[in-house]
């Protein structure tokens, strides 16, 4: 690296350092003078955008790790501690959570760019493979990060994904218990996932360095896919592409900010807000949207794949490979082939049954890993001499079909594996593999490309905006996809003051809602994540908060004599629990656990609408529907059967502000209150969002001006 020519610098300090360690020469060569094709379109922004997202993820992640506790008993609570108590914690977490999604958006567009313009072809094969390695590391990191909040979704995703390895013949179960560090997903699993989730991003950073290094050896590809013929075809990286990348980044960040500050949970499933319970699987496990296509491929293999006379076939293959090894030239090549022979021979021994069957479970796992693994082979599957799809109409057609198939797979992955979705998933999976294994090699031989231009001409923006729009709009659709599939009952949407981009909580409604909770709900439902001190947010004075807290008593101690004692609750104490523990709560409620209400509004589809609908949805069971004792009919509850007796009735709670003391008003107020309890910093979030959005908008506009000025003499 230091062997290159040095640049002379005017600044004596810079010059002194550069003579001893030529970092400034390196930066000058690679990021200033670096000759870059002058015809990039905006798709070439996404490499820089992805690097910025990686750094943002690392920075937010390091700070979040300072507040997080990787212990099975405390992880869920510590994440809520970040969301509620840590200064700006809600913002850092939402930036991190949604940053992962936007990191994948940038990387998927970056990968599409590579495929569309043939950036993986000679001499950039290794550059492409390093990119696939980054992608794999990202998938591993994102998956483990998904587990850390120790929610129902995270814990069960960890269970399902680690169980993939149980499909490995013979060693499967041992591998899985090695991954878990026990007999189920538990504290040891969480600890190692946290450790790996922390370290892998730095590994990604290192591979990104290699990726960029390889890029700077071969130089960038460009929309025409032909190599620059000389200086007239290139521009120095700075200021042309630094300015263009910064402008593109600002636009990308605007989208990211809108999601983070106004729809922060759009990618999150309600089961993210329920603590992990190893005894109860949620009805529908979905991975994050960016894994859905691969998840759909996993589920597409619903059948055993029978290989007749598998062992015979393997033996024949082994024999053939041995002969090939014998006649091939070179010791290394002979050795490699003999290794393959040994593998095939081992498989033959393993499959010593007349009909070797590849079970559906293993088949699905192989298909899923294979779908990513194929990307590594891409430079050798597509050997067509022309790079850019612009001059390969047939390749372009099949590539767009591939993009559509992948998006459809993503949608299928979010649905319950039933009916048409299974068939559609199988169809798209077949196309996915067919594209790589049949269509690409076939096109490589037969496709006649359009005539290539002699040298690089001006860039054309066409189509890029469309693609960006497709991807950025299809992701929320994928995220929403899971919600439609098992929405039990229709929940009517209500008017709420906290709706909309500038919506706020209604303090009076919150105080009334708290009164209802205090007098009715709190008899059975705990609210462990809310403390009396938080009530000051509802407009209570410090004295009122103290008085409210003092009505309750908490167990404290031990005192100087080692005895536990009861004392009046203080503002700093969490809401007192109606039952000493979970089992007591279940026992007192005929076997049903009254869920903790702190996060209820986020842990149910429909949020406040759902809670309101449930509280007002009691009625008589229709004919033919028998209810057991202790069961009630409810229009909104899944399956219409609920174990909670109708909790509210007219006039049971008295309001001080003269609001109507009706069931409807109670239900409305308590839903309002529970929404606040689940998301206490919503107002700060929107308010901060407005400031960040305006700033970025101004910055983007100014950067657009800078970019235009910079490029004025090129166009």
């Amino acid at each position: 690296m230091g062997s290159g020519e040095r640049v002379t610098f005017k600044n004596p300090v810079v010059s002194w350092i550069d003579e001893r360690l030529p970092v400034f020469s390196l930066m000058h060569k690679e990021y200033r003078a670096f000759p870059t094709p002058k015809n990039f379109n905006y798709l070439w922004n996404f490499g820089a955008i992805a690097s910025v997202m990686l750094i943002l993820m690392i920075v937010t992640g390091i700070v979040l790790a300072m507040h997080y506790t990787p212990h099975a008993d405390m992880a869920f609570g510590s994440v809520e501690h970040i969301m509620r108590d840590v200064n700006w914690g809600w913002m850092l977490r939402y930036l991190h959570m949604n940053g992962a999604a936007f990191f994948f958006v940038a990387v998927y567009i970056h990968m599409f760019r590579g495929m569309y313009y043939g950036s993986y072809k000679k001499p950039r094969e290794l550059l492409w493979i390093l990119g696939v390695v980054i992608f794999l590391l990202m998938m591993a990191t994102a998956f483990m990060g998904y587990t850390l909040p120790w929610s129902q979704m995270g814990g069960w995703a960890a269970t399902v994904i680690t169980n993939l390895f149980s499909a490995v013949p013979i060693f499967g179960d041992d591998i899985v218990s090695l991954l878990w560090g026990g007999f189920s997903v538990d504290n040891p699993t969480l600890n190692r996932f946290f450790s790996l989730h922390y370290v892998l991003p730095f590994v990604i950073f290192a591979v990104v360095f290699l990726h960029v290094w390889a890029l700077h050896v071969s130089g960038s590809n460009n929309p025409l896919g032909i190599e620059p013929k000389g200086p007239q075809d290139t521009l120095p990286f700075h200021p042309y592409y630094t300015m263009k990348d910064t402008f593109g980044l600002a636009v990308f960040l605007l989208l990211y900010v809108v999601v983070t500050f106004w729809f922060p949970n759009i990618f999150a499933h309600p089961d993210h807000f329920v603590e992990y319970n190893p005894l109860q699987t949620p009805p529908h496990i979905v991975p994050e949207w960016y894994f859905l296509p691969f998840y759909a491929i996993l589920r597409a293999i619903t059948f055993d794949i029978a290989i007749p006379f598998g062992n015979v076939l393997f033996l024949i293959a082994a024999l053939g490979a041995t002969l090939y090894a014998y006649f091939s030239a070179g010791r290394v090549r002979k050795f490699l082939w003999l290794c393959i022979v040994a593998d095939i021979f081992a498989l033959a021994l393993l499959s010593f049954s007349p009909h070797f069957v590849l079970e559906a479970k293993l088949g699905g796992v192989i298909a899923m890993f294979g779908s990513v693994g194929l990307l590594v082979l891409l430079p050798w599957l597509d050997t067509h001499p022309v790079r850019s799809a612009r001059f390969r109409p047939r390749y372009r057609f099949f590539l767009w079909l591939f993009v559509i198939a992948t998006i459809v797979l993503g949608y299928v992955g979010a649905q319950l594996p039933e009916g048409i979705w299974v068939k559609l998933g199988q169809l798209c999976t077949a196309y996915y593999f067919g594209f790589f294994l049949v269509i690409l090699p076939w096109l490589s031989r037969t496709e006649k490309a359009l005539p290539l231009p002699k040298s690089i001409s001006d860039a054309v923006l066409k189509g890029v905006v469309v693609l960006f729009a497709v991807i950025s709009f299809s992701t929320p659709v994928l995220a929403e996809g899971g919600e439609h599939s098992h929405e039990a009952q229709h929940v009517e949407s209500q008017e709420w003051s906290f709706r909309g981009p500038f919506g706020t909580y209604d303090r009076e409604a919150l105080r009334r809602g708290y009164t209802v909770y205090q007098n009715v709900c709190s008899a059975c439902h705990s609210m462990n994540l809310v403390s009396y001190r938080n009530l000051s947010d509802l407009g209570y004075s410090p004295e009122q908060v103290k008085a409210i807290a003092a009505e309750y008593s908490v167990m404290d101690g031990p005192d100087d004599e080692g005895e536990m004692f009861e004392r009046p609750a203080l503002p700093r104490d969490p809401f007192t629990n109606p039952y000493p523990n979970r089992k007591a709560a279940i026992y007192a409620n005929n076997g049903s656990y009254p869920p903790d209400m702190s996060l209820l509004a986020k842990a149910r589809h429909g949020g406040a609408d759902y809670i309101y609908g449930l509280l007002t949805g009691y009625g008589d069971a229709p004919h033919g529907k028998d209810l057991m004792q202790g069961q009630y009919w409810n229009a909104v509850m899944t399956g219409n059967v609920i174990a909670m007796a109708p909790p509210l009735s007219e006039g049971m709670v008295s309001y001080e502000d003269g609001s109507p003391e009706t069931l409807d008003q109670y239900a409305r107020d308590v839903s309002h209150f529970l929404t606040w309890a689940a998301e206490p910093h919503m107002e700060a979030r929107k308010y901060t969002g407005v400031k960040v959005f305006i700033f970025l908008l101004v910055f983007a506009i100014v950067m657009y001006g800078v970019k235009k000025k910079t490029w004025a003499d090129v166009h």
Partner: protein, 179 residues
């Protein structure tokens, strides 16, 4: 570098645009850093724990208790009239950190202070009857040999300041709220 050569004279509009963009970027990054730094400050639940109430009624004259406040030991000593007298008669001007005993207590019999040596943060000895109390009958820090008197003032050794007096107030005769 074809553009760099031209900027020396004229082209103020481009310069202005560049400066605006640079300033916006720098300010943006600077402001963005604040939430990260502020998140390291004490969180709301930590701040909520920052006051405690102590019942003094069981502490006999001549006894000391240690309570935990904000993760630190707080020494509370029920001083005898003799101790009060000896603390008050010291010539304040001679002390390294001149402070009259009256300025260090709200009620003369109750001395309340943070039990952390002002030298390098060790916990001085002297709370228990069996522990060494130093040359001035108060507290003695074993780490580097600082001696404190019965008012918690530094009298000998490397510590620069008297033991700190936290903010507190008496809710009634026998209950004190610290913090």
């Amino acid at each position: 570098m074809s553009t760099a050569n031209q900027t020396d004279d004229g082209e103020t509009r481009r310069d202005f645009l560049h400066l605006t963009a640079g300033a916006l970027g720098a300010v943006g990054v600077g402001v963005f850093a604040w939430p990260f730094i502020d998140s390291l400050n004490p969180a709301a639940d930590t701040l909520a724990m920052s006051t405690i109430e102590v019942d003094l009624s069981p502490v006999e004259e001549g006894e000391s208790i240690t309570v935990v406040w904000r993760g630190k030991p707080v020494f509370i000593r029920h001083r005898t009239p003799k101790e009060i007298e000896s603390a008050q008669k010291i010539a304040v001007a001679d002390l390294r950190d001149s402070e009259a005993d009256q300025d260090r207590v709200q009620k003369a019999q109750w001395l309340i202070m943070v039990g952390i040596c002002t030298h390098l943060g060790c916990v001085p000895l002297g709370q228990r009857k069996t522990e060494p109390k130093g040359d001035f009958g108060g507290w003695f820090c074993p780490c580097h040999g600082s001696h404190y008197d019965i008012s918690g003032r530094i009298r000998k050794g490397p510590a620069p300041k008297n033991l700190a007096v936290p903010q507190y107030n008496f809710i009634d005769d026998t209950t004190v709220r610290i913090g």
